[in-house]
């Protein structure tokens, strides 16, 4: 009964979405306030209906209703309750429902909180948002219905892929979607503005908080996914340039560019058509990401069971949404009046450079991700583009970007004094040189690029602190600074922390892989790791062979590390559980494997169960300096976004257009 109610709620949501897509649009064109007013209740109703469908599916998972095909294929009665709930979005149909839920959530948020928006803009924005919702609801109902029944119902479910049964991954999709799908509302604002043919500073100010929120969530989502890959996949890596990782990274890069160009559009009334284009692209790339994951055109560790029929459907949505909005852009954008002028060396100039670098890096990732597909289309060989390509093309773009991030905030609007900016950069520059010298002297030898990286990270961190403290001066003034200024400084500082983590863990990683028996010891980066014994334990739905190690740094006290190999009987899968000690400056990362197999995943289950107590195990010990900083930095960036979001200028009603003081 409950699944049928969920199904019905979805159909009603589709009907509501169709109404909401058409009526307010017509109302805005005719200037009919009553028709426009329909958008708000419709957006709220749509959200309530999709939420009801989502609740119905969650309920089916919680009570393990295996008569629902989706539950039978992805759940199991023995699975812990947390993973029964998170299993809702661990599959194609359920994750699509989450996608639509978040889409409706953003629509409802604009409907509820957008009372200070001009009525026609609000009506058009909600109508466009609803067009997207209608397309995806139809996609779900016609090709990927999560409420289909099985008759007869199986007695037991097939279980969720054990790799996905992990808290890090459980919360990765919701954050990722809040970011990814959050750009939908920015897209809707952009299309609505193009339809209206009017883009001004006020528009940029309305769009900015939504961009900020989406970008901050996306930052967290990507960081969670990367952190999960680090500790769960057992390879010790944190980014693989996997097509689907890239698919989430591209909207992030464009979103970051959009955040900055919207500032220029708001403050200086310039870069307007560029900002609109970025708003379209940020969500367009999110859609392309969705297409790549669910159509099976690219093979990836993330691919959902693919189906050509679904692929064609999403491609049609893609063409309608991106093609339609870009056509509108080609038609309407040339009529936009260009705004304020500025010298190349100015805050605006710095932000343009930032935008160019971010957009180029996004293009690089795009080409690297889709190149295999394009080459094959030309009749070439099947190739895969590996990390080498990305390291060679992406890193050279990031170096000037970080330098520009450090220098940019010191440049004045309109026309900057280069010498003055350099003078203010003296302290951070000196700090950067000192940091680089310190690593050359005290750290183990590393390639020159690593020292450049250290210097840039230090430069960015110090300049963020220097800039905000220079503006703040006294505590009283610090409290009076706009939150947006604090947010920007904090986010830039977070980026510096992430860069330091990336540099540290790639340049100074050391690793030792060896066969060890209980009693053996291994030395790595000042640590001595001693293998004590292994034990066999039972978890809720798995059996685990746990290795017990003692790790001692120098003469310090020993700390136990217990990496494991889990065997999930329901699917016959083996997963690796890494043991990690974090000191803040470095991670000691330990995994064990069946010596005959050696791979992180897989192995012989028999060896797992029956290995004699003195058996040798393949032990992999990795020392990752600063690796935790990558995710700490991402957290700081998201925090910066949140602080900036709380700026009162973004919350107050109808903003006054500021006249540039010097003009």
């Amino acid at each position: 009964m409950i699944p049928e109610l969920g199904h019905m709620a979805l159909v009603l949501a589709l009907t509501t979405a169709c109404l909401q897509a058409v009526v307010p649009m017509v109302g805005a064109a005719r200037g009919d306030a009553r028709l426009m007013a329909l958008a708000t209740p419709a957006a709220l109703a749509q959200f309530v209906l999709v939420a009801a469908a989502f609740a119905a599916l969650t309920w089916s998972y919680v009570v393990s209703d295996f008569s629902v095909a989706n539950v039978a294929q992805n759940s199991h009665t023995l699975k812990p309750m947390l993973y029964k709930v998170t299993g809702v979005w661990g599959n194609h149909e359920g994750s699509l429902l989450l996608w639509v839920l978040i889409l409706a959530l953003f629509g409802a948020a604009v409907a509820a909180g957008g009372r200070n928006l001009p009525a026609p803009l609000a009506a058009r924005t909600l109508a466009v948002q609803s067009m997207i919702a209608a397309a995806f609801l139809a996609f779900m109902i016609f090709t990927s219905n999560p409420f289909l029944r099985l008759d007869p119902a199986p007695a037991e479910g097939r279980d969720l892929n054990p790799i996905l049964q992990d808290p890090g991954l459980a919360f990765h999709p919701p954050f990722l979607y809040l970011g990814y799908v959050g750009f939908s509302i920015v897209f809707s604002f952009a299309v609505a503005a193009l339809v209206e043919g009017r883009i001004d500073a006020a528009w940029a100010r309305w769009v900015r908080p939504w961009t900020l929120a989406a970008w901050a969530f996306l930052t967290l989502g990507i960081a969670l996914g990367s952190w999960w890959a680090y500790y769960e996949l057992g390879w010790g890596g944190w980014w693989y340039w996997d097509p689907v990782e890239n698919a989430s990274f591209m909207p992030w890069l464009i979103g970051a560019a959009l955040l900055h160009s919207a500032v220029v559009a708001e403050k200086r009334d310039a870069l307007k058509s560029w900002t609109i284009l970025l708003a379209i692209l940020a969500f367009g790339l999110s859609l392309i990401g969705t297409f790549l994951v669910r159509s099976g055109v690219l093979t990836s560790v993330h691919s959902f069971a693919s189906d050509p029929e679904r692929g064609v459907f999403i491609l049609a949505i893609l063409v309608a949404a991106i093609g339609g909005s870009l056509a509108l852009y080609a038609w309407r954008a040339p009529t936009l009046k260009p705004g304020g002028v500025f010298a190349p060396l100015s805050r605006e100039g710095g932000l343009v450079l930032n935008n160019l670098l971010l957009a180029t890096s996004c293009a690089t990732v795009f080409i690297g991700t889709l190149y295999p597909l394009f080459l094959e289309g030309l009749g070439g060989a099947k190739v895969s583009v590996g990390p080498q390509f990305f390291n060679m093309t992406f890193v050279p773009l990031m170096l000037p970007l970080v330098a520009a991030m450090a220098a940019g905030p010191f440049l004045a609007w309109k026309r900057a004094d280069g010498r003055a900016a350099l003078r203010r950069l003296r302290v951070p520059l000196a700090g950067a040189v000192a940091a680089s010298l310190a690593t050359i002297i005290f750290a183990p030898p590393a390639p020159a690029l690593a020292h450049v990286g250290v210097a840039l990270a230090a430069l960015l961190a110090l300049s963020s602190i220097h800039e905000i403290s220079g503006r703040a001066g006294t505590l009283a003034r610090a409290l009076n600074l706009p939150r947006a200024a604090w947010g920007a400084a904090i986010a830039h500082f977070g980026m510096a922390v992430t860069v330091a983590g990336v540099v540290g863990s790639s340049a100074w990683q050391s690793e030792s892989i060896r066969a060890m028996r209980p009693g053996d010891s291994a030395d790595i980066a000042g640590w001595r790791v001693t293998f004590m014994r292994t034990t066999l334990e039972k978890g809720p739905n798995y059996t685990v062979r746990r290795g017990h190690f003692e790790a001692r740094h120098g003469d310090g006290t020993g700390r136990t590390m217990s990496p494991g190999k889990r065997h999930y009987a329901s699917t016959g899968t083996i997963t690796t559980e890494a043991a990690i000690i974090t000191t803040g400056l470095a991670d000691l990362y330990l995994t064990i494997a069946d010596p005959a197999d050696g791979s992180a995943q897989g192995g012989d289950p028999r060896f797992l169960f029956e290995a004699p107590s003195d058996a040798a195990w393949a032990v992999r010990i990795t020392h990752n300096p600063l690796v935790a900083w990558i995710w700490i930095g991402a957290g700081i960036m998201a925090l910066g976004g949140a602080i900036s979001l709380s700026d009162r200028r973004l919350r107050v009603g109808a903003p006054v257009r500021r006249v540039p003081a010097a003009a």
């Binding site: 159509s295 055109v297 050509p308 063409v319 852009y329 080609a330 889709l370 197999d597 012989d604």
Partner: protein, 179 residues
Amino acid sequence: MLRRLLFALPLLGFAAVAVWFLHGLGRDPAAIPSALIDKPVPEFRLPPLEGSGKPALAAQDLRGRVALVNFYASWCAPCRIEHPLLMRIAAEKRVALYGIAYKDGMAESRRFLAQLGDPYAAIGWDGDGRVAIDWGVYGVPETFVVDRAGRIRHRHVGPLSDDTMAKVIVPMIARLERE
């Protein structure tokens, strides 16, 4: 005019991408060509799967008759999906079907075959996956078509389906038998 064209560039760029996407949808991402196509099978000699009652498998066993070599594992879910099809192929006796147990425990592999049936004429036990590396296997199941001279002629990645059997594998076997 030039200005208008500039604003149409994103649209044109996207149109090109969309055409490639449509093209990409039509192809089969599992059809990965093998570097070993038309090359002799790599030299190997594998121990038998003890207790299965089937002989062991070595490179020279693949000569004289068109053969299918199927890499499988008890821990692999898609292998279970294609297994009934393998049982039918074995029953038809049209072609020699050999199995290579990839990175699997002997007991598990035996249990897998006891549960689902054993379609193979001979089974090689590749416990550490070394032979699979020589064949260029990167995931199970994979199936290779080997001609009478012992050369690899086709590689199929992923579970076999009735569709691939009827459209690709069976016509190919017929052709190879006439060669």
